[in-house]
């Protein structure tokens, strides 16, 4: 599973939408997915757990789409130890 797919999966679990709810790189966190402040906390926590990263809360203040999350996480993940994410 790619980083993008995993992030979409985590997102769907948190906002509790069914499998037919579509989320893509262009989906906006607030307007399209309906992510509120508590969901954002859960999202960051789950991403930290899944990718074994430590995420600064402020990182999310400039992010508004799923694509931007994927970019940021991919960057942080590759900085870790150069391994590629494969699950």
């Amino acid at each position: 599973m790619s980083i993008q797919d995993k992030i979409v999966e985590i997102m769907k679990n948190i906002v509790n939408k069914g499998t037919d709810f579509s989320i893509d790189l262009e989906s906006r966190l607030v307007e399209d997915i309906g992510l509120d402040s508590l969901n954002k906390v859960l999202l960051i926590g789950d991403i930290e757990d899944e990718f074994q990263l430590e995420i600064n809360d402020s990182m999310f203040s400039d992010i508004s789409t799923v694509g931007e999350i994927v970019d940021e996480i991919s960057k942080l993940y590759s900085l870790k130890d150069g391994v590629t994410y494969e699950k």
Binding site: V41, L42, I44, G45, D46, E48, D49, E54
Partner: protein, 402 residues
Amino acid sequence: MKNRVVITGIGPVSALGIGKKEFFSNLLDLKNISVPVKESFLKTYKLKSKFYVPTPAIDYSTYNFYSSLRRDTPENARLSLLAAHLALEDANFTVLDKNAAVIWGTGIVNLEVPIAAYQANITGTRFNRMTIPSTMTNAPAAWISIINGLHGDSYTINTACASSTYAIGEGFRKIRSGYADVVITGGVELLREDSGGIMRGFDVLTTLSKSNDGNPMPFSNARSGFLFNEGSACCLILENYESALRRNAHIYAEVSNYSANSDANNIIVMEPTGNYIKLLLEDLINSEKIDYYNAHGTGTILNDNIEAKVIQDLFGDKETQPYINSTKGILGHSIGASGAIEAAVCALSIDLSIIHGNRIYDPIDNLNLPLNTVSCEVKSAISTSFGFGGHNAGLLFKKIKY
């Protein structure tokens, strides 16, 4: 309105067994489950108590509620969810009443979460964002409602070692007065902590057993305190008798009375005359004949002295006393979960006509303490719990023909 209340499902989770069959079978065999304390417990303090009962290691992924758990669902909630799952499975509802209430008991919160948060905060390592929802005392009750989709009221009762006896008692009152038809009740305690600090907390109060073999022996003259059980849970399904009959449920026993009062004496020491315990029992029993008394029986010098005296005052000599045992002599003291576990033991004893023995030698004189497990009809049973702070509670169970 005075509805009758019955027990239709039982789900124990402990080192003695997961689920009623394994749990009760090991209990009847008086299985020894204590283990020596870990090396990590002894770094800065020499524990006087050398043995404890660990939290059972459980593979939750084999249970169907696992997929709805978050990675950070705290362990005390997981133990509680498993206990509730087992009890609900046992109760065998075709359709569970979604207005069922949840009344859960716990003595202390699961300290490993706030302890880890403190460590992360002072060392700058990763901080668990779910620290607060995983620490809050209501978490287990909330998780039970969430996972099972229950919309009845859901809350947690706290009265130290009497917590889950109080929880069951309140569940009994709720159904009896017509506020609910089904109550999911019981309790949990999870005091697991790698440095042994929590066990030390009990040890410095001189409440823990100093035995050389991990056998606490409540009601023995050689006793010296209780066996620390760091993690257990137990769930009972209470139901309105009429609804249980209508759906052909298996009924273990009726909960026919509940009584509670306070010693108002001291934050850890029981009131030495046992007067309030005696009043509680008189109120609970109301001149009924009692076949079986499942004692609070921690194994401390003080508790067992007082409890023995009250038993003798109330029931007379050995020959006229009910059979007496202490489940804590086999399982150890699981604090907030102990009341629910002991209520389950009473219900199972009534249902299966068997009373577990007491794994002791040199028993206190003039007490009807069977050393071996006894097969006999049990028409009525009592369970008592006395918590730090003087919280006393008792439940009366009766065999029911249905």
